[in-house]
Symmetry: C2
Subunit: 257 residues, 2 copies
């Protein structure tokens, strides 16, 4: 039987609340098996951009990343949040290694081609250095990934953290029983966005398609669900979308084929 | 014979000039043996602090680090500069891994005790995780250290980059023939600060003491020289203080016992 690899994506709103982050990290530290955390930090990046007078422009929820926005994103994601989580992990007994996709060429990306929209310095993952990362996992290092990758030619690229999480999950699926958890501010996928009690306990692809057609899901949830279904279709054992509280109780929405 | 380990400290002014940084990294990439880079970034941290309306306070050249200054330092050092160097190294054929002292508990520090001055979140290195770092070096990873460490209890600490460089150099001296280079904006240690031609080609401890008594050295150079002599006294094979140009020609000031 394959060993378990827990991949936890922590959303920007969870990152922004110290006590919530801390309780999620404590629960995660108790999981048996190998561990990877992927974190965002977009909210803080937007706040910092505001303070610096840099406009944050989004198209369909994705940040348009010019030179200044890239610098801000890298400072917040790879700098403050990444090292803060790494230091906290050590205080909880996990030996943690913070990584961007540039480190050890962990995730090589391609700058998103310009079609209708020029997203700027935004990258889409193309290749994961599974061999070196697996080597780190075998040393019992908890890997902490921020949402930054590179193109291999010296250019850093802002990269969606949900996509990094599902890319890592599918890359490790041949070697581990991968459990992928998206921990966000909501308690799970909701049938009705204005009712926090309406968590859907389990969601398969047909129900997802039906719900999308009927407009159940709010716009931010759809790309997350697409990443989640991509993972479950590509060998990931278990995919859960939950909130900080439901993470502690193994609740949330379980994604099924 | 022991293998060579090159440790290069790149100063804040060198970091701030893209072309200069690039030429130094190209020259460094051609060195035979294992490689570590330690970088500062204080100038950029000061500029960012100004933009954010956070006062930068220094006592004897050392930054007083409150909560906001720490966040800025970590964002600039561990975020932007660290990942920028990592990405550039990959474009030059070096497989690079960016690290703070918190990652893999690489450098455990102690918050500087409050005597006459409270430096705030400033740390002095106490313990290097030589075993894990050596493991990385043996995998031919070029390690890129920023000037951030931690206390093991979740607190990040701003830490002098010169001290990190000499601490790493002495920690690896039993295992490697360590060459430690401090690359700064000046071409070396100057006999006369207003004359860039007055580089002292070689400096021993007696000459350093005499020069200090006679007021030869400018104040910023003295702690750097203390770190340099500490390294050469503790088993480091070669210590050089040079500028970007003299780094390319193996010039600068060679430190002798």
């Amino acid at each position: 039987m394959k060993e378990c690899l827990h991949i936890l994506k922590i959303g920007g709103n969870v990152m922004g609340d110290e006590d919530t982050l801390s309780s999620v990290l404590i629960a995660f530290s108790k999981k048996e098996g190998k561990k990877i955390i992927v974190h965002g930090g977009g909210k803080k990046a937007t706040t910092l951009a505001e303070k610096l007078g840099v406009a944050s422009v989004f198209v369909e929820g994705r940040r348009i990343t010019d030179d200044q926005s890239l610098e801000i994103a890298v400072m917040v994601y790879a700098g403050w949040y990444n090292k803060k989580i790494v230091a906290q992990c050590h205080s909880l007994g996990m030996s943690a290694l913070g990584l961007s996709g540039a480190d050890v060429n962990a995730i090589l990306s391609e700058k998103r081609p310009v079609h209708q929209v020029d997203y700027g310095w935004v990258g889409d993952p193309k290749k994961v250095n599974v061999s070196t990362l697996n080597h780190f996992l075998k040393e019992d290092l908890t890997l902490i990934f921020c949402a930054v990758t590179h193109d291999g030619h010296g250019q850093l690229l802002n990269t969606n953290a949900d996509t990094i999480a599902s890319t890592l999950a599918t890359s490790f699926a041949p070697f581990y029983e991968v459990n992928l958890t998206y921990c966000l501010e909501l308690p799970g996928v909701l049938r009705n966005i204005s009712n926090l009690q309406s968590v859907i306990p389990s969601l398969d692809f047909i129900a997802f398609q039906e719900g999308r057609e009927q407009g159940y899901f709010h716009s931010g949830m759809i790309p997350k669900l697409e990443n989640a279904f991509n993972a479950i279709e590509n060998g990931v054992t278990k995919v859960v979308i939950c909130g900080p509280d439901s993470f502690l109780t193994n609740g949330g929405t379980h994604i099924c084929k």
